[in-house]
Amino acid sequence: MTNLDTLLSDVRRGMIPAHIYNDEEIFRLERERLFNRAWIFVGHESEVPQPGDYVVRRVLDDSFIIVRGEDGQVRALFNMCLHRGMQVCRAEMGNSSHFRCPYHGWSYRNDGRLVGLPFHQEAYGGEAGFPRRGQGLLPAPALDIYNGLIFVSIDPDAPPLADYLGDFRFYLDYYTKQSATGIELRGPQRWRIKANWKIGAENFAGDMYHTPQTHTSVVEIALFREPKAAKRKDGATYWAGNGGGTTYKLPPGTLEERLRYVGYPDTMIESMKRCWSPEQRDVVGRDGFMISAASVFPNMSLVHNWPKVGDSDRVLPFISIRTWQPVAPDETEVLSWFAVDAEAPPEFKSLSYKGYLMCFGSTGMFEQDDVENWVSLTSTAAGAMARRLLLNSRMGLLTDGTPVSRALTGAEFAGPGEARVGYAEHNQRQLLSTWADYLQRPSEPQQRTRLGAAVNDPPGALAAQPGKAVLA
């Protein structure tokens, strides 16, 4: 394989070795150095509203029970019995006070504590042989929540989620904080696509350029008036903190008029005005930019669009949140949720759900054509020729690195980070540069957790071997 440093430096300058989209070695590095460290979105608090409610979600191969305990706290418990490693929860969702392993019957409360160990006295000699007190399902090394969005990290030293998201929180609020209550999630639809996980994340982060071509059919059937090239290139892309996204430029008007233009009813507009900062209101009301697709590094994406949901000219907005969960170098499981403000009127919720189904998700008419492209790219990236090809991802830069269009000033774009009008691949490069930073850094020694103890355990037995660097 190519020298890793060379590969990563090519990526950073926007010349993308095509094989990174289907490569076992790269995938192994992503597992070890990226998905073992970054914050990964696993669900939303609204999916587990009551004590005992749970959903089971994965971070790569690790299964976690995302569960609300009787104390109201949301936890992520590693779904592996401490005894012989069975999954203690084999459903995808439900409500339970306990999880009992079907193998030997060890049972755990929904806060993770081990409470049942059959024949503890007879088999182990009680606490003297296996101290049960204080044992529990392993918690995710880190869990943090923003606007109800639950993230976990396999890295116990992960920075606080707020720092990790950074200024992207400003934009995340448009999707997830339209009222004091915030959003509720439905779903997810889940399906597997034979495409590398990075492609979707890049696409949602900044690819306004594909919209008029890939999604021509959606404009032709008058489902959505905006993706025409003339409108799409007037939008801005922004990158802030650990995420970035795309916007549409709206027709002239006030904040209220522009929110009405995309289909929000006045009651929702009033609550958005109360929840959003002056700068958040200005991006829409003063500057005329409306958020559309976005990605949070590494594999969470969001989308906000406003299709026609019935046989009239009325448009109505919807929000979707998704993760691109890696399965293999050439396979991704998509988890796609419909999200809607919990305080929205019932009719709005129904029609917004309708808009989501028509546009995105497993049946969405936008999504259908996207995935066809990504599957094709992934299968072509596996061969010898792809190793010789550097894909040009330098749109928006001259050969000497000068940007084609200047960054918007604070007077033109009230949001944080860097924003530019028009087609470019600044965001895709930013996403992959961050990816390169993670892949460059060798992994640290892993802490191990063990249960019980043998008296002759050697000192230092708890420290594992440092992760070996795979590539020179």
């Binding site: 995808e92 969702m93 597997r192 696509i193 066809e372």
Partner: protein, 202 residues
């Protein structure tokens, strides 16, 4: 009709009635036992399903739409793995398809443009329809029909083909133009679909 622990009745249940987009749909349900296979009503229903499968295989969606009633509700819930006795087997408030005449019409119109890339070149499709059971309803002009459908979908010359297996419950309505589909529930047998999208109909 007795529902099982997850609320299913045959291949149907309350999915359509519970959908926020299903309030316009007929709520007619099956009555009594399976009609004999020799019953004229069963023979007509079975033939309708096989003829429909041909239209879906051939992607003759305009002709297919002519068989769809104006008040159609076409729903494919998102199935989830739940504990036995949980009382539900699909994601609350979410579906893959949750369609009325307008949205089915938009989907068909899209396939009829020259820019629906996901089916250009088209997939090779075969809907295998089986396990057909027909039931009367309280309205003599309506039948409830359960069927199994296995869709084989092959694209290009490199990718693995994909399979979708589902049980369906249809409400068929007799009209002057023949039988029309007034309600369809599709119980897909996967919680995680193994196909790149649902740019097909079941």
């Amino acid at each position: 009709m007795i529902a099982d622990t997850a609320g299913r009745v045959g291949n149907g249940g309350s999915y359509s009635a519970q959908s926020p987009l299903g309030s316009h749909a007929s709520v007619l349900q099956r009555v009594g036992r399976t009609l004999p296979f020799s019953d004229e009503r069963h023979l007509q229903a079975h033939q309708w399903l096989v003829d429909e499968a041909y239209l879906l295989d051939a992607q003759r969606y305009g002709d297919w739409l002519a068989l769809i009633a104006d008040d159609i509700h076409y729903i494919m819930p998102v199935r989830v793995t739940t504990a036995l006795g949980a009382g539900y087997d699909s994601a609350p408030g979410m579906a893959h398809f949750d369609e009325n005449r307008y949205s089915l019409g938009r989907r068909v119109a899209r396939f009829q443009t020259e820019h629906a890339w996901t089916e250009d070149p088209p997939s090779r499709l075969r809907h295998h329809v089986t396990n057909v059971r027909t039931f009367a309803t309280d309205d003599p002009s309506h039948l409830v029909v359960d069927s199994g459908v296995l869709l084989y979908r092959s694209r290009g010359d490199v990718r693995e083909p994909t399979l979708l297996s589902a049980g369906r419950e249809d409400l068929l309505r007799q009209t002057a133009d023949g039988w029309q589909l007034a309600r369809r529930t599709i119980l897909i047998d996967d919680s995680v679909l193994r196909t790149q999208n649902l740019a097909i109909f079941l």
